[in-house]
């Protein structure tokens, strides 16, 4: 019976729901992003957008809707990148010895942590969507119930795959690092380029060429595109720019996320095979 990863998953979720403050903070924080940053920027961008000519026949969405997808993506990025931290603490406090001296293959530790992190991302994404809809994010407008379900499923598949990739990366970093401070520094360093070369908060069309290339290979961009495609539609305009997505493009974006997750998994497996915990 090879269900060891469920044990790892169980323990991590147990800790997640045990600490009410932490749980509460992790859910409220992204909502606050949307509330403060979103509404503040929204007023600015929407005023500028109002002066631009509209695309006839194309649905125009407000800025809050535009960055709604970005906030979901950003939250998933941050949560996932920090999701492996528990492994660093387990290693430093000796807790990992129990796990590594048990018959569970090491790969199950990676998978278990990946799945629990993914679950946390699902919960957060759901909270942001509900909160966003209350604030005036125009997701799923004019969708039928079936279309909404289909879109939600699409969003979750994208969020899930993306978060797994970054959780594996986080696990690989955690098992390699010696101190939580070091890990914090590395992750903060990593989030910057991922975050600011993506289309989460602003359009990337007017980026200089180098940044555009970075933006194209950035998993965050692919996640945001996926969420916008499912939540807003395949043809809309925001901030005076027209966005069109074909199913083919979205499929390629998904493949990119899948490839990213796959590579990160291999890296995590390699880092784990190297570690000795005594």
């Amino acid at each position: 019976m090879r269900t060891g990863f469920l044990t790892i998953y169980w323990r991590d979720m147990l800790r997640f729901v045990r600490f009410r403050t932490l749980l509460f903070a992790s859910l409220v924080q992204p909502a606050l992003w949307l509330a403060f940053f979103g509404i503040a920027m929204s007023n600015n961008f929407d005023r500028v957008t109002a002066t631009l000519p509209a695309f006839p026949g194309v649905r125009s969405v407000n800025y809050l809707t535009f960055i709604g997808a970005g906030v979901i993506a950003m939250t998933t990025l941050f949560t996932s990148l920090f999701g492996g931290t528990v492994l660093l603490f387990d290693k430093n406090w000796g807790l990992m010895r129990e796990t590594l001296s048990s018959p569970i293959p090491r790969i199950h530790v990676i998978i278990g942590i990946g799945l629990s992190g993914m679950t946390k991302s699902f919960i957060q994404a759901s909270v942001i969507m509900v909160f966003g809809l209350l604030l005036g994010v125009q997701f799923f407008e004019g969708y039928t119930a079936v279309q909404i379900l289909y879109s939600l499923a699409g969003i979750m598949v994208f969020v899930g795959t993306f978060s797994l990739g970054f959780l594996f990366l986080s696990a690989a970093i955690a098992i390699t690092m010696e101190s939580p401070e070091g890990m914090q520094a590395v992750i903060t360093l990593l989030t910057m380029p991922f975050f600011f070369t993506s289309n989460a908060l602003y359009p990337v069309d007017s980026f200089p060429p180098v940044l555009r290339v970075l933006s194209t290979i950035n998993p965050l961009t692919h996640l945001v595109s996926g969420i916008r495609y499912f939540a807003i539609g395949s043809d809309f305009s925001a901030i005076g720019i027209r966005y069109t997505y074909t199913p083919g493009e979205i499929f390629i974006s998904y493949l990119a996320l899948l490839a990213f997750a796959g590579i990160m998994f291999l890296i995590a497996r390699w880092r784990f095979s190297k570690v000795t915990v005594t």
Binding site: T7, W10, R11, R15, G94, L100
Partner: protein
């Protein structure tokens, strides 16, 4: 001595180690060690910090690889069948390894799940063990709220969760108060009597003495001597007589000529005479002999050899002095913790 003397269940070796060596980079932590542990016994590694005890335990529990030599645990080769070994053993680690944010039940539950125990068996075993280590009132308490002794008991319970053939205990009573230590010893004896072989490391003389069927004294990564506690002590003679005299060297010369004197060792201010006869009758004779030689006796003490004496005899130093030794593995490894 309050020790349980019982025949081993089987005259089989449950641990067999042949020419084991382990290096941390350039430092040789384990130096060509060979020993066997018989099924059903309590076997101790006694030695100072940094002697290589923990390294041996880490290798035997698969946390460190076998670099050189061969070792079998519970019938499985450590190199070729580490998973089989893992399934057959329980471990109580030297430092506490309990998640502070989990309850007593959850700690045991997690462990049972790690070893794929079926749910019913898990529940049953948890209740059994909570009773055994007397934590009934603490089932749903977070481990951060337990006392040091309770944590240790919980760790022992966890080590027993899967009914292992061998339980490895690395310094099981380190940092505990005397009463708690004695209670832990009682648990260890109970567990052993129920059939679990126990391999423990300790730097406490009394612990090795009280608990073990057999003891290996280990120092600088080598086994110096192995035997039953009384065998080791008897090797020093029947009694030890400590003397402080006006001329210790002269006294040594004089006493060496007695047949019943096995050996004499220098101490800081006096000498220790090892005798293989009843010291209570020999002592007056010794004092008379010295006095007639013009040597004044200032202080006398007569005692049975203890494990401390055994340790000093075989390693040539006191256990408590050795921890701070320069270049010992303990120093080199301290940074990793």
């Amino acid at each position: 001595m309050g020790k349980c003397r019982r025949a081993p269940l089987l005259e089989d070796n449950i641990i067999e180690v042949n020419n084991l060596e382990y290096f941390f980079g350039e430092v040789k932590a384990v130096d060509n060690i060979s020993f066997t542990v018989r099924e059903g016994e309590i076997f101790s590694f006694l030695g100072p910090n940094g002697a290589g005890k923990s390294t041996v335990i880490n290798v035997l529990t698969t946390l460190l690889p076998v670099q050189k030599g061969r070792a079998r645990v519970a019938g499985f080769d450590l190199k070729t069948e580490p998973e089989k070994v893992r399934e057959s053993i329980g471990i109580v680690f030297q430092e506490l390894t309990l998640d502070r944010d989990m309850t007593v039940r959850e700690i045991l539950e997690y462990h049972g799940r790690l070893y794929s125990m079926p749910k019913a068996a898990r529940q049953e075993r948890i209740e059994e063990l909570i009773k055994l280590v007397e934590l009934e009132g603490k089932r749903d308490t977070l481990t951060r709220h337990l006392s040091g002794g309770m944590k240790r008991r919980l760790e022992i319970a966890r080590g027993l969760m899967t009914r292992p053939k061998v339980l490895f205990m690395d310094e099981p009573t380190i940092g505990l108060d005397p009463q708690t230590r004695i209670r832990i010893w009682e648990y260890v004896k109970d567990i052993n009597q129920q059939g679990t072989t126990i391999f423990l490391t300790t730097h406490y003389m009394d612990e090795a003495d009280q608990l073990s069927d057999r003891i290996s004294i280990i120092d600088h990564g080598k086994i110096i001597v192995t035997g039953k506690s009384w065998e080791l002590k008897n090797a020093l003679g029947e009694d030890l007589i400590y003397l402080e005299t006006s001329d210790n060297r002269e006294a040594t010369e004089s006493l060496r000529q007695l047949d019943s004197v096995k050996g004499i060792r220098d101490k800081a201010k006096g000498i220790v005479v090892m005798v293989n006869t009843d010291g209570t009758y020999l002592l007056p004779e010794i004092i008379d002999r010295l006095r007639s030689g013009g040597i004044r006796v200032r202080a006398v003490n007569l005692k049975k050899p203890s494990m401390d004496d055994v340790f000093v005899h075989y390693t040539g130093r006191e256990l408590r002095d050795s921890g701070a030794e320069k270049g010992s593995v303990a120093i080199v490894r301290a940074g990793r913790r």
